[in-house]
Subunit: 522 residues, 2 copies
């Protein structure tokens, strides 16, 4: 539809839906309320938007995050007033850290009603700013379409951004909506040729160089270029610990990550006197600990920026390949696919079985926390797959991210959640959306009945937890029954206490175009 | 412990726990993370704090809200970094609207680690300000105790306030903590004698006067005084629609509320030319609707403020009684306790059965939304009880508020949740805490398998929902199985399809010192 059409008979909500569709946003993760009913009405009348309901807002925003990581384009959310946005902010934090683009549509009080401070009135803009790159309140119906186009444009930056468009109810229901055309996707800032020359010089003249990759630089197109650089110069490659989306398995680089733990990270990085950053930050600890440094690299190491997070890592690495004249090389074979493991449900056995059985082109959503620290390094020899990590450390994104990723996968790609029990409880409502949308999601619920990471952290602090501390760290008393919880939301589930049982259930689940939960007792 | 003791050997977390206890805060609703481990350690070593674990932060903050409403004093929360606070902000919004006092303790990155922008680093203060009356980051270990005392002091204002104390990890673990003594509870601003004289004059010289009560003015001590004024002057009494905590049933005033719906509210208030506000705001719509006014009272009505929300309603009403010389009168009898209803699970039958069966001194947490609009007016003739409403319209506070209220009730008071299914899904994790703490909570789950309020609102917008709209408004496909969900979290549950079954289950539940969920098909 052109910008001229239907200007007068259209309301703001309708101009918004048409503009989102024009701009390539065709999926809306929704948890609507009263002030959004005109938007819901517009979605009802205008075909083309796939609407997916989440039963709590952190599910909605987490799904939008997972969708972006796989679709590599933004979905919209639909949230109800400031408190609805607040409920979704934890996973917007994760999405921001994962550099996912999202267009939040937050309905709000009518402009003229806001001064009356009705119960749901809140500092919606203030809330939005804490997790968004771009925030605007459309106070005039004629501006809603234009504002929506700008929101999408910002979300679609090379490094995805969180756009939050606040839509007062009267801007939604008033006539006079104007549909906007799509705006061009912003170009990434160009690669600095001096940075390329400098990095080439460092690589030519030093042996102890680390090339550190993050975010898009961990995807397949960057991997092959980074490997050419490494092979030509002898530099080492590592990925940062936290990357929202990595591509790995057969045909991809077996790219190790900087370890999570401060001591292990410092040890892994201790040998490098030069660190080249490709869309990465110089590594710092997830948390500080008494007497340990915040930074994980040697204090005398030199840091060289090849490309920033908002630049195109492929362009940067290609320029470096060209500068070095690095020849084409093959990605090393990741080794034979293993056989499924047998026996005890250990971390290693589960990783091996996962590598043995996961279908080609699967998506793994990893929120395995303490139990899963080795899953990553033991699954390089799986078939080609996408690997999604907890983006910003705010637990509770594993299940919603997997759900949104499955929507982006169009029902054809198997999604496997490696999901700790404690973090699953933050967003278990995701299972209902998986059932409703008949998504091919297999949740491997790692059931240890405690916040095990915190028990480890408590011991780091120097003591064995007493009764009061354990009252805040253990999840038994009562035990959570994940079979019943999954069944209660329409998801088939079964328990596994051995790797044989787990492998059988994985194979059964992988054949079904429906969600399944394996309650794995560990 | 005195302020002088143990200054040097104590860390910041220990000074915080001692200060909270000194200040009368002896209950901590917690969802801790790594940066809070020293605080957890201090809670482990220092006796006296009752720690209650919630599995998601909105449960934690909602429990603290419910606790305050019954205990009439603040609890603390323990939350993990900005995103943990964000997860709990929806119910902090509700608590703020319910005028509940809460002391949030939010652990955060060590001060020197914050500039490194580790994954969990967020705009914690910015988030906190959107829902808090008072926010401070304790950057120096020596100030933690003093800051905590000020936080409690602010939370304990006559109109409860949200205090958020952000505790960087190093302020927690460093030695040099100083315990602070309790600070005096702030006095309410005094009642203006001219306001009292003016209201007395209005009441003496007019017949069409409404006295509108809100918040503490709806509790029993204010009710008897307001009733004396009404009897002496012929004024009418109403409560505002939204009050976090009301006291009612036998021995209390059968105080009606301004209706929720705009048209009904305008009709109810249309006869008044004078409205006297006792801790109340002049009524406005929950939402605006096209062509309808924002305010619900006649445009020519005169508004008279007897007392503001932050003043003492008992003092204000006593002054008015004295000024008028209003004689002592008895609260009218609320009529005989009804017999349990039989047959269909209608709104009226459930309300009557509730009035018939609820134990004396029960607490009712009402998040019944669309189905429960008449529960309130049909339960005046129940035994004396406390009635807790959704404070700020952000659905998802019913179950956590009931859980926190049960903790405040010390296990002796029956808590009954009138809980819509859609809103229950926002915070179902509450059931697990109910089971863990063996709380006497009876949840009557009103199972209609849809967001019925939104279907009504959609029809208000002028249309019958089509498939896309219904995809965002109905909760079937798949149906939620609340028996399994409750059992999965350790809560006994059973289904009722008739009032006889419901009454039997209520009686069974009321005998048990444990939670129970009745899945009431409506």
């Amino acid at each position: 539809m052109s910008s001229q059409a239907a200007t007068n008979q259209m309301n703001g909500a309708e101009s918004l839906v048409h503009t989102l569709l024009n701009s390539g946003v065709d999926t809306c993760f929704a948890n609507p309320g009263t002030s959004e009913m005109h938007f819901v009405g517009a979605l009802d009348r205008i075909p083309g938007m796939h609407c997916v309901l989440g039963l709590q807002e952190n599910i909605v925003t987490g799904m939008a995050d997972g969708y972006y990581r796989i679709a590599r384009k933004p979905a919209s959310t639909l949230l109800h007033c400031g408190p609805g946005l607040a409920n979704g902010m934890g996973n917007l934090h994760n999405a921001r850290r994962a550099r996912a683009g999202i267009v939040n549509i937050v309905g709000d009080q009518a402009t003229y009603h806001r001064p009356f401070d009705a119960p749901l009135t809140a500092d919606t803009e203030g809330m939005a700013r804490t997790v968004s790159h771009w925030v605007r309140t459309s106070t005039d119906v004629a501006e809603v379409g234009r504002d929506a186009a700008v929101a999408v444009q910002n979300a679609r930056a090379v490094s995805g951004q969180i756009s939050t468009l606040i839509l007062p109810a009267d801007a939604s229901w008033n006539p006079g909506g104007v549909v906007a055309d799509a705006l061009p996707v912003p170009a990434a800032p160009p690669i600095d040729p001096h940075a390329v020359e400098n990095v080439a010089r460092v690589l030519r003249s030093n042996r102890n160089v680390l090339i550190l990759l993050a975010d898009q630089a961990t995807l397949a197109p960057s991997q092959i270029l980074a490997w050419r650089v490494a092979e030509a110069t002898g530099a080492h490659l590592l990925a940062t610990y936290t990357n929202g989306h990595m591509q790995r398995g057969r045909g991809r680089l077996a790219l190790e990550r900087v370890p999570y733990g401060t001591d292990a990270a410092i040890q892994a990085l201790g040998q490098y006197q030069h660190i080249v950053l490709v869309n990465a930050k110089a590594p710092v600890g997830f948390f500080a600990y008494p007497g340990k440094p915040s930074t994980q690299y040697p204090s005398n190491a030199q840091i060289h920026v090849l490309s920033r997070f908002d630049q195109d890592s492929v362009a940067a690495l290609q320029a470096l390949v060209d500068e070095l004249g690095a020849p084409e090389v093959a990605i090393p074979d990741v080794g034979p696919r293993p056989e499924p493991a047998r026996g005890a449900t250990t971390q290693e056995n589960l990783a091996v079985t996962l590598a043995a059985l996961m279908p080609e082109n699967s998506i793994v959503s990893n929120e395995s926390i303490s139990y899963g620290r080795d899953f990553y390094k033991l699954t390089h020899n799986a078939p080609a797959h996408d690997w999604l990590n907890l983006g910003g450390g705010a637990i509770g994104d594993g299940l919603p991210v997997s759900t949104g990723a499955a929507v982006a996968g169009g029902g054809d790609r198997r999604v496997i959640s490696l999901q700790a029990d404690g973090s699953a409880m933050y967003s278990l409502q995701s299972l209902w959306t998986q059932a409703r949308e008949k998504l091919p999601c297999t949740t491997i619920l790692l059931n240890n009945r405690k916040y095990n990471i915190l028990i480890g952290e408590y011991k780091n602090v120097g003591a064995v937890p007493g009764p009061t501390a354990m009252g805040m760290l253990d999840l038994s008393n009562p035990d959570l029954d994940w079979i019943k919880l999954a069944n209660g939301m329409g998801v088939e589930a079964a328990r596994a206490t051995t790797m044989e049982e787990c492998a059988d259930l994985m194979q059964q689940s992988f054949r079904q175009k429906a969600p399944f939960l394996i309650d794995l007792i560990i």
